[in-house]
Symmetry: none
Subunit: 195 residues, 4 copies
DNA sequence: CATGAATGAGATTTCATTCAT
DNA sequence: GATGAATGAAATCTCATTCAT
């Protein structure tokens, strides 16, 4: 049976799932917990989601689109490149990664068990390719304009993504200003900018 | 009842547990799986470990000592600092982090659920403090000797640890030479060294 | 709340229920399945039937009347008994039993669980008594007129009913001409007529 | 994991399953019920059987062998055919079918839902073919020796099997002497023997 | 020490039924 | 009357742990 795709309740359940999957992982999170967190009865979860795995799957894949829009929408940078613009973008990236703690934890959970969720891995890999390609374009443009030092754009892409993930996942202080600044500065260093 | 602390069988079970916890997380990993992976009978696991949680706990905490020794034993660097020495150390760090995939996944699992395993979190936090302090000392020394550019040593510490974790956890290619070099170069950039 | 006793929709639901109960038994058949098979919405089933058990109960008991009419209406046979008339009746019985596959499966389901549906069992028992009594009358008349060999009319009644039920329930080929003829001939043998 | 194939407990569970599946059908019978009937804890059922369906499957297929041995072992009849021998065999068949109530109910359950358990249907069909072929041989031999009247052996086979099944399934009095005799006599009539 | 049968708590999932729209 | 979202009881199955052999 087709499940309703949007409704206030569905959204509450979805957010509850995201939060709890992030906090406790997939197996430890129970449907009962999710229902309670969403202030919804047990059976209602199954009104909106076929089963636990589907809910998890959607928690992983649905936000990708938003992620894509947010992270790549700033591609105007390429036409009018400048150091300041780069700083702005990096600041936004860092802030966004630090803010999306729940979602990134869930993603990490999937990446950590690639054989278990191959379909989801593929979607995530595709997105990470897009993101790294975007970074590489920035690096290339920056080098051409003489704003960034010589370097291997691919390496910067890898390093930058790893850094953003690690920053969010390694430190669990939810929003520490000092930490945020540290990461913003260090992220710039990965582009070769030493402030 | 006191459990034997070392024996060939205990070690096989321990390694099997580490591998499977890394691959599937805590809940998905069953004692039966561990016993099979260790080529040991089901009940034998309980001969060497009180229960599943204790085994997991030990998988997280026992290797910390080795980690500590390996990562910090190179502290001779401070007395005789040079760019080449820094490069060597960074190379080793990157290589070591990439090699210890299983262990780092397990650690990440714990860090991702800080409320669930508070005791283990504390031990890990302590180690990460030590490691960052080590890095800060390097940065301070490097700046004093004019080998490293001015910067905030604390920020470098945060960024470097985040980077190492993210590098290992974001990319699942088990051992990619190209990737390894990328990470080595990028890690140096976090110290302000642009090659 | 009184439920409507007849309507096109009610009938569609009833037939759908009969078909599915016959195919999958009581527990495996869901209201959702019945609604789908009847091309009716889920809640509508409850507009016409108090609950699942009532629908099942009615599927078992409502058709008894039709069964009674069909099987016993030929009682004119007694007044004008002949071998040909017996053959006609037996042919009709066999054909009718083979045709009413769904209903007979449902009946068998109830007979197979006598403690579970005692009320329905009683109604079915009553009908089977009537039917056997009808057969016994035929046998008695046939013996008196010298058309049938000596025998125990009660035994023929038991055997004949058992045979008709078994014929329908043991062979699942829906309508096999060869099988039908076989059963017609064998049914006559139960009356002592060897063709 | 391979399950133990024989043990006192396994047998108790098996018999309990057979009894309850016969009484309540597959869906209504719960593992809890089976465990209670077998005087065994809930989880122990899963020590001996993979899951509910496997237990049911085995309840259907395991006894076939015994059935085969019992029903066909009397094939010596063909070499030394006589009316008395036929009577003996028929008596045994009737008695055996009436005795094996549980098992026959379970078989009937499967035959009634042929699409649901295709694998089991196949095994049952094979056995019923063997049995009917055995009956046909008897009829042929009996006709050749002039002991049985002319007739179609195939038809007798169909009719006889249907009759035995129906006899057991239509009447739920567990062991009624009068009924037994009725069925023995009527069964002979299917062979063309009118006593 | 080593083993694996026994146990039952706890998780997922199904589905009859209610009831507001 | 018709609909289908909401509910929670009840079923199956998993698995850590115990303990007799």
């Amino acid at each position: 049976m087709a499940k309703p795709r949007s409704s206030e309740k569905r959204n509450k359940i979805f957010q509850a799932g995201l939060r709890l999957f992030a906090q406790n992982g997939y197996s430890k999170t129970t449907i009962k917990d999710i229902a309670a967190e969403a202030n919804v009865s047990f059976g209602t979860v199954f009104t909106y989601f076929e089963n636990k795995e589907e809910l998890f799957h959607l928690c992983v894949t649905e936000p990708i689109e938003e992620f894509r829009n947010y992270l790549l929408e700033t591609s105007g940078i390429l036409e009018n490149f400048s150091l300041n613009k780069l700083k702005e973008i990096v600041d936004e990236h860092v802030a966004y990664f630090l803010e999306k703690e729940d979602y990134l934890r869930v993603i990490q959970y999937v990446i950590g068990q690639p054989e278990r969720f191959p379909e989801m891995m593929e979607e995530l890999d595709q997105f990470s390719d897009e993101f790294m390609s975007f970074i590489q374009d920035i690096v290339k443009t920056g080098m051409e304009k003489g704003v960034l030092p010589e370097g291997n754009p691919e390496e910067v892409g890898y390093g930058y993504l790893a850094f953003l993930m690690g920053a969010r996942l390694t430190f669990t202080d939810h929003a520490n200003v000092q930490l945020t600044n540290a990461f913003k500065n260090q992220a710039l260093r990965l582009f070769g900018i030493v402030v």
